[in-house]
């Protein structure tokens, strides 16, 4: 396998300007993540201390094996909602190592509104359980939630992927033989009561932990019965009398120690067999990625330079190097795992779409996981291309992506616009994980294109009545559209709404994908099968 020959000039003015721009973005990302992870109003931290509760980050530190990586997902979820007052949507999720086993962690953050479930909290927990189901990942739930945030119940309760989905997914995990342990560290009220009840194992802390369908105020309102939380659903009630919880614990540390011992009893999974070799660091420095990604999204760059800073020894076996050159396809190793990479080097034409389709079939045939590196403005438009069947060729690629049985991973490196997002395994195509780079943008079309299309529609309406628009009137149409598109196509907006699994620093991509690949291989890979290709 040949090493990619980098043509990058690390002394060029462009490289240096890009690097400065992207380093600033990476620093801003780290600062935002740090705030979400650690900064809380004093009164909230004091309340936790008064309640004799650990902060969620300290609980995680106790839970996870020291010195092992934790791939936190959707850290900035909710950053553009709820006036920014629900950091991380009040939940921490991620893949970590507990007692030597890969697990999905779902931890309530009681420092944020008592751990109440906002609509995006529910979406984040559902996503975590979806990932667990798709990848056969055991789960550890750290439960400490006040329950659904009642003022917004219409957006979190009834629909197919709302709160009920958490309990459905927990049940399916159990049916699949994938174990879960819940640690009850605070109150689990109403729906939240089912998280420990549906876990195969549960630990409950004496004093703080409680599980009940209706808390004391609701019971009083419903039947007039006055009862304390401890007497209604405390540790002794559930571990001695009801059998709703399994292990009593005297404090949080003991509860976590018991849960770690429970996980230590679980059978280690048989991983799907894929090609693997001893890992090797990239030959080219991943920090040079900062100088490659352009500060202006419209500027094209060679994805080979990105691949060279992501894969083992920077080696890349390029498939069909001369055909359909706007879509790079080829094999590489990432943290030792053999992968097939599809990366955009321009707009998708008929030939590039066909090439992608063929390459996906090859990877399914020889059980090679797929990585999509997106920088895509869409499929080519125009009379010639329609006559050559660009829609049909795009449909072929989408059919191959959707029908793919090997695990898929998507990284939005720059632009992700229009149907190109579909062909390159966007969120709707169930990549096992989808990450965004900080400067990337995602929308049905670019901001300027959308503003121009809408202005053009208005101009033609007025032209029918013989009217014209002044430059000011034109700007009044264009500017709000531009502004909305810019905001709503930003990576921060995407990650706020969980259209992705998190924004990552480009230099972390290799590690994030390594953890994601390892997790995905818990699920056996089915033989290739597709729908009908429109040949």
């Amino acid at each position: 396998m040949n090493r990619i020959e980098s043509a990058l000039n690390t002394r060029s003015a462009d490289f240096l300007a890009n690097r400065e721009h992207n380093l600033a973005l990476a620093a801003a990302l780290r600062q935002q993540q740090d705030a979400v992870r650690h900064q809380r109003p004093d009164r909230d931290m004091q309340r936790l201390a008064r309640q004799n509760k650990l902060f969620v980050r300290d609980r995680l530190r106790q839970l996870l094996d020291p010195g092992t990586p934790f791939l936190e997902l959707s850290t900035l979820a909710g950053n553009m909602e709820y006036d920014g007052e629900v950091p991380g949507a009040g939940v921490v999720t991620g893949i970590g190592i507990v007692s030597g086993r890969e697990v999905m962690v779902n931890a309530s953050d009681a420092s944020v509104k008592g751990g109440a479930w906002y609509p995006l909290s529910v979406k984040k927990i559902v996503r975590a359980t979806d990932i667990a189901v798709e990848n056969r990942l055991p789960m550890v739930h750290l439960c400490d939630s006040a329950g659904g945030f009642l003022p917004l119940q219409a957006e979190l309760f009834a629909d197919r992927h709302f709160a009920g989905r958490i309990f459905r997914n927990q049940s399916i995990l159990s049916k699949m033989g994938v174990p879960q342990v819940a640690i009850v560290l605070g109150h689990c009220t109403a729906g939240g009561a089912y998280v420990p009840a549906l876990s195969d194992y549960s630990v409950i802390v004496r004093g703080n932990g409680a599980i009940f369908l209706g808390g004391p105020p609701l019971v009083k309102a419903a039947t007039g019965e006055e009862v304390s939380a401890e007497d209604l659903g405390g540790c002794d009630v559930h571990t001695r009398l009801s059998g709703t919880a399994d292990y009593p614990a005297g404090n949080e540390y003991e509860a976590i120690a018991i849960a770690r011992d429970v996980v230590a009893q679980w059978q280690r999974p048989q991983k799907a067999q894929v090609e693997w070799q001893e890992p090797e660091a990239p030959y080219y420095d991943p920090r040079e990625l900062y100088g490659i990604v352009p500060r202006d999204i419209k500027v094209q760059f060679d994805m080979r330079e990105v691949i060279a800073r992501m894969v083992d020894a920077s080696r890349f076996h390029e498939y069909q190097p001369a055909y359909g050159p706007t879509l790079l396809c080829g094999f590489a190793h990432l943290w030792g795992y053999k992968v097939g990479i599809l990366a955009n080097n321009g707009v998708l034409f008929n030939d590039s779409a066909q090439k992608g389709c063929h390459f996906i079939a090859l990877c399914n045939q020889n059980r090679t996981p797929l990585i999509f590196l997106q920088n895509i403005t869409g499929f080519m438009v125009g009379r010639d291309y329609e006559r050559r069947g660009i829609t049909k060729d795009g449909a072929k690629m989408i059919m191959a992506v959707a029908g793919s049985e090997v695990p898929k991973f998507t990284v939005v490196c720059n632009g992700s616009f229009g149907a190109g997002n579909y062909g390159m395994s966007g969120r709707a195509f169930d990549p096992r994980f989808l990450f965004m780079w900080p400067q990337s943008q995602i929308s049905v079309m670019g901001a300027e294109q959308a503003a121009n299309v809408l202005a053009d529609v208005k101009l033609r309406q007025l032209a029918r009545d013989g009217e014209k628009l002044s430059p000011e009137q034109l700007a009044a149409i264009r500017d709000p559209v531009l502004e909305d598109y810019r905001r709503q196509s930003s990576a921060l907006y995407s990650t706020s709404r969980l259209w992705d699994d998190g924004i990552i620093d480009p230099t972390d991509t290799r590690n994030a994908l390594g953890i994601a690949l390892s997790a995905a291989l818990n699920q056996p890979i089915a033989p290739p099968s597709y729908g009908v290709f429109r040949i």
């Binding site: 002794d236 005297g250 120690a257």
Partner: protein
């Protein structure tokens, strides 16, 4: 969650992790490369961050006797389950209930009497079996809820112990 060891009575939190080169010890926020090579019998060569030491190591259960630089040390592993086991101040332990319906055939303590965990408190007969009820914790008998000969239901209160009376 780090492992806990007592070294000559003093607690240390440690973790042995993997690294590309081998093992590394996580201690006090630092990662120190370590290696332990067997040299026959109790003799070992211990390499800590490149420095080599000759040590004698003998293990018995959770205790490790280490002889290093002419000094002997006792290292004891404390399982986190035991280390964090909460103060068993649990009302449930202090209140003894009937494990099944039956009758009381003997009571071996009286109110005020001090008992230790495991002491026999009374005997009940049920289902052709005699079952001894033992104290679940140390304490003093605060209240005897039943008399000899009395019929009892499952979960009936038998004895309440006052745990604060245990020294």
């Amino acid at each position: 969650m780090l492992h806990a060891f007592l070294l000559d009575g003093e607690a240390h939190e440690l973790w042995l992790g993997r690294s590309r080169e081998g093992y590394c010890l996580h201690a006090g926020g630092r990662r120190i490369p370590v290696e332990l090579l067997e040299r026959g019998g109790h003799a070992h060569e211990l390499i800590i961050d490149g420095d080599r030491y000759h040590v004698l190591i003998a293990r018995r259960g959770d205790e490790v006797h280490v002889h290093l630089n002419g000094e002997s040390h006792l290292l004891r592993y404390v399982d986190n389950l035991k280390r964090f086991a909460g103060d068993p101040m649990d009302e449930g332990d202090a209140v003894t209930r009937a494990p099944m319906p039956g009758s009381i055939i003997a009571v071996s303590v009286e109110v005020g009497q001090r008992v230790r965990r495991g002491d026999a408190l009374m005997v009940i007969e049920s289902m052709k079996m005699e079952t001894t009820i033992n104290a679940a914790c140390d304490g003093a008998v605060q209240c005897l809820h039943v008399d000899v000969g009395q019929l009892i239901d499952k979960d009936a209160l038998l004895i309440t112990l006052d745990r604060s009376a245990s020294e």
